[in-house]
Symmetry: C2
Subunit: 655 residues, 2 copies
């Protein structure tokens, strides 16, 4: 390696972007020069302390903290390898060592607040129209004052007013009252002349008293805790409308990219569970503040939260050890729906506030899947339907009104841009759609926010591979087609073929954006996992019920499912060969499930009933797993007869 | 006042003893010389720091803290007027001022741990034989391990084991599980190879999991929170037996003698409620430790506590503002029985432990009265029964199987030794029984623990007055009989007549122990309050029901009720003229009620039902109150016909 000309690769998370750093660049310059807009007030002078980053790997290759950093960071932050981007660079005195080393591994975490442009986080979903019957209701009552002839205690007078006010309460003696509410009652009652608002939970428990009429201040918030992204929907429980939405990256990403590395972090660090738990709770509290600010209400006006998330996110959020989800036979601590007190999990809503956790199905099929079922109502379909939710984990549901079977599949996170050479998340500058002209292999593309291209996100990767197939650049087995290897857009780098999607003069970091042979393999594994997973569930259903059902309809859920070209997803064989009008993109169905549970308590009862009906298949131990998976590695499949409508494949070589 | 010969009076609480301090004495010497044994390791040298006392009034008359005190007390303690008795004396430089001052008021609080001899706190009561049906049950189960074919989550496997183990749980889906228990489950389950103990509460909620078989570790503790004394009964919930008992003075006494002064303290001090609340919780936690040490178990083996106490003690314990109990119309915040989490009130029992608060009846008729009704079963009597519970507050019940009416009476605390010149609580050295020879007015007496006499406690005061009546030393109107005023045992002090019970050469503090004219008046007011209270309740019953019922039976509850000579109580007219065999001394019936609620959950349901049946009379606003009270001031009553069996009164002059 030539010291005067060295280039070090650095992986930036959570945008999953690999950049090349030169000797003279500090990391702030590197980011800016690559088109990644980061916050700074001082423009990189080391005085504002805004450009905080966390070095996850390879701290030793960087210069030691500068005086600026010692002044602007806490000792704890320095110990945890936080740096200021503008003060960090590859250490000169490490360079002589570099030649003898393995390829340098440096990984840097960019916190949410550093990035100027928000990630593209899917917040909307298909609302099937849920009627309003929330679990929390508020009643305004004027309470009788006590007198010597009838010196009835405060609470008992309040209950008398409540029972005369509404028809719900049959016997006030059996009505429960939260201790915290009782404690504040004497003061609240006398604050506005015995006129108070009662918050009633589940029609059987008073959880709060407020002075005066606060009936219009009845809000709920539905959370979707994804491995990578967090979304909160603030809903008015009097009219059922979403008043504001806020999202954030899951800050746990700093401690591990996927659920398995997070479980490992919990096991390797004494206070690891508490740290991961509190970091996500803090982030949700920030979302609460943001949504409330947008809707001009106070966090204390929120009486209840509902939460979906995969099993590991669910456990870590609740400070429950997720270890055994990660070990065979992969069991969670609990799967039932949970009604909790917000104060027990430090969620900063109303002091007497409640939290409903949607139930889990299994170790790797979580509450998010229940959310998808509830909001998509797959359980009411007459035709057998395949629903897939592609997040950092992949969940598959096959079902209709008679049967409901789920599984998780090890799809990896290729579809979120990870492990793809120029892959990145759906952030500004990501290529999200691609067309290849089969005649000259020129490429048309679009990017998110129309920024100069920086990398390719999931939907772009699927487009790229589908288009490369249609242009015969690759074969059905995924190899580069010998016929084209002399084309100027096909290059060889370290003995690996690459197809140039965007040439370096057009990109923001002045490097070609490519799809490599290895990238195609990553996508093959991901799509094979989904297809074989669906196939194995279908076989399982048919075997146990002795039927010959077929999938007639597809729901694509999640951010990825919403943004991809469904035709291309079918073309690469990720989903079965079903006509386009029977493939529905249903948006953030998991988050919608959490919203629906907030709006109508009957859906929680339904979730509980669903648990008994839902079957779970552990795909990896199904006997046909290896064969099914291997056959699905082909484009679209080893057995072309499974995709009769994809006529183009007649002309695409198998190898 | 002669400086060389001065004597300053100091009141010591909570033993309600007034002592006279000379110039040369420090307070440690004063206490020791008066026969009050206090703890010290160094014998008064100021090195051990054991003889801590709190100066409640008159701190300015004492010397400033010495170097010893500065070394052995914290700054907070010094600010709160804590001293070491052996370092405290009347300040020499205050003496010239004394002559111009009002009588010096110095009040010193002696904390429980300072006193070597325990107070005589009544812990036993009449047990009517309650069958065992506790609210907390423990089950040992061996839980199936999960496997890949059936990867059931931890909690759901536990519930399957539980439902196969006992017949109680019909539907494990509706069984609630405490969040804290769920959080610990994964670890507990794997600690002893999937063998765990489940703690079930109210047959519908799991509150704890423990590794291994801990079924024999199922204890409860019943608390009686008195204004002055605290008692805890540790009960094994598997066999229903009391394993140990511990008692303590209520440390709130440092902040006020009775409930009204405590309410005042709450109102006058910003953190007054929290301070009073935490001080009693700390004392109960000490009792928990003591009872557990005696029974050789751990506090975490206690799964539930039950609590009785008057309304103010109940509210302060729960950190509920008692202000409105003290203001007309005297309403508590809540009267219903409460099921609470021990952690919400910082009671240090099992982490998932529960607390049941017996219900209140009214502002001045508390859970202690419910406890008396439950344990005495007055509601099952065929004859109309009067039950009185004499503590720092007096509660009266008149009832039988048809009617149940309660009231509180402003008896003052004369019967606990307060406001009586030589009165004191039932501690070592207190005269508890007295006989006067009518021929020569010599006095026979007994003292608690056979110590040299130091003062007179409640039962001794009643005996003294009854015997003074029988010897005609006082008249039926309570005045000293002119006939005897020249007797050597009758002296005049500051124009007030006094009868010498014990001459100074026999007493521990070398001063006469006397009953003064004023003391007789105090007792008259106390006994009149009880008698007129019972009479007014009876009238209220007869008027509202148009009957002419009479009291046929008497239950005397509480420490005082247990130790007094019931014949003398009747003789002074404190209770109606009923034959001795119909007067029952039922001991600490309130505490027994708390125990019974621990033993059998049906009694809690009964308490709840009783609330609807019990009538409450506000005595002070009954129209005959003034007349009834005035007539009852006479011994035994203005109307002698009400006491036909007390033949001796024929010879006792009315005035």
């Amino acid at each position: 390696m030539n010291n005067n000309n060295f280039k070090i690769t650095i992986d930036f998370e959570p945008i999953s972007r690999r950049l090349f750093c030169s000797r003279d660049e500090n990391l702030y310059q590197l980011l800016i020069n690559s088109g990644i807009r980061v916050r700074s007030l001082c423009g990189g002078l080391g005085t504002c302390g805004k450009c905080k980053i966390m070095v996850q790997k390879g701290n030793k290759y960087l210069n030691p903290p500068t005086d600026s950093e010692k002044a602007l960071l806490t000792q704890t932050e320095i110990n945890e390898s936080w740096r200021l981007a503008c003060q960090s660079r590859i250490a000169e005195n490490q360079i002589p060592l570099l030649e003898t080393l393995q390829p340098l591994q440096i990984r840097i975490f960019l916190p949410q607040e550093l990035l100027v442009e928000d990630f593209k986080i899917l917040t909307s979903g298909l609302n099937k129209g849920v009627s309003l019957n929330p679990n929390v209701k508020k009643f305004f009552v004027e309470v009788n004052k006590p007198n010597l002839d009838n010196p009835v205690p405060d609470l008992e007078r309040v209950l008398i007013s409540l029972s005369s006010k509404n028809g719900i309460i049959k016997d006030t003696n059996t009505l429960l009252v939260e201790f915290e509410a009782i404690k504040k009652l004497p003061k609240i009652l006398r604050e506005e002349n015995h006129r108070i608002t009662i918050t009633l939970y589940d029609d059987n428990k008073i959880i709060d008293f407020e002075a005066g009429n606060k009936v219009d201040r009845n809000y709920g918030i539905a959370f979707d805790i994804g491995t990578t992204t967090l979304v909160g929907y603030l809903i008015n429980l009097n009219d059922g409308k979403v008043y504001s939405v806020a999202s954030a990256l899951n800050p746990q990403t700093a401690y591990g990219e996927d659920v398995i590395t997070r479980i490992t972090y919990v096991n390797d660090n004494e206070d690891g569970l508490l740290k991961l738990s509190s970091t996500v709770v803090d982030a949700l509290n920030d979302i609460i503040k943001k949504t409330c600010a947008k809707a001009k209400i106070k966090p204390s006006d929120i009486c209840e939260a509902t939460v979906v998330g995969n099993s590991v996110m669910h456990h870590i959020f609740l400070n429950i050890d997720p270890t055994y989800i990660g070990l065979s036979p992969y069991v969670p601590a609990v799967k039932r729906g949970l009604n909790l007190n917000s104060k027990d999990i430090n969620l900063k809503i109303s002091r007497g506030g409640k939290v409903y956790m949607l139930p889990l199905i299994a170790g790797f099929v979580g509450a998010d899947t229940i959310g998808v079922i509830l909001s998509s109502e797959i359980d009411k379909e007459s035709e057998l339907t395949l629903a897939i939710d592609v997040g950092t984990n992949g969940e598959i549901i096959v079902g209709n009104r008679d049967v409901l079977t789920t599984a998780s599949c090890a799809a990896g996170s290729a579809l979120e841009g990870a492990h793809i050479k120029d892959g990145m998340r759906a952030a500004a500058g990501a290529i999200d759609a691609i067309k290849i002209n089969p005649d000259d292999l020129t490429v048309e593309y679009t990017t998110i926010n129309n920024k100069k291209p920086l990398g390719i996100c999931g939907s772009g990767i699927i487009d790229a591979v589908a288009e490369m197939l249609k242009a015969k650049i690759i074969t059905r087995s995924g190899g580069f087609n010998k016929q084209f290897i002399d084309h100027e857009r096909i290059v060889k780098n370290d003995k690996i073929f690459e197809f140039i999607i965007v040439k370096k003069d057009e990109t923001s970091n002045k490097r070609d954006i490519i799809i490599s042979q290895k990238d195609v393999r990553e996508l093959q594994m991901a799509k094979a996992a989904f297809f074989s997973g669906a196939q194995l569930i279908l076989n399982h259903i048919n075997q146990t019920r002795n039927t010959k059902l077929e999938i007639k309809q597809i729901f694509l859920a999640g951010a990825f499912g919403n943004y991809i070209n469904k035709n291309n997803a079918k073309f690469i064989g990720m989903i079965p060969d079903i006509s386009d009008e029977k493939i529905y993109q249903i948006g953030n169905a998991a988050g919608m499930g959490a919203q629906n549970c907030l709006l109508n308590i009957n859906l929680r009862k339904k979730a509980s009933k669903l648990l008994k009906k839902i079957d779970y298949v552990e795909i990896a131990i199904e006997k046909d797993f290896q064969i099914q998976y291997a056959e699905a590695m082909y484009f679209p499949h080893h057995n072309l007869e499974l995709f009769p409508n994809l006529k183009e494949y007649k002309n695409i070589p198998k190898r």
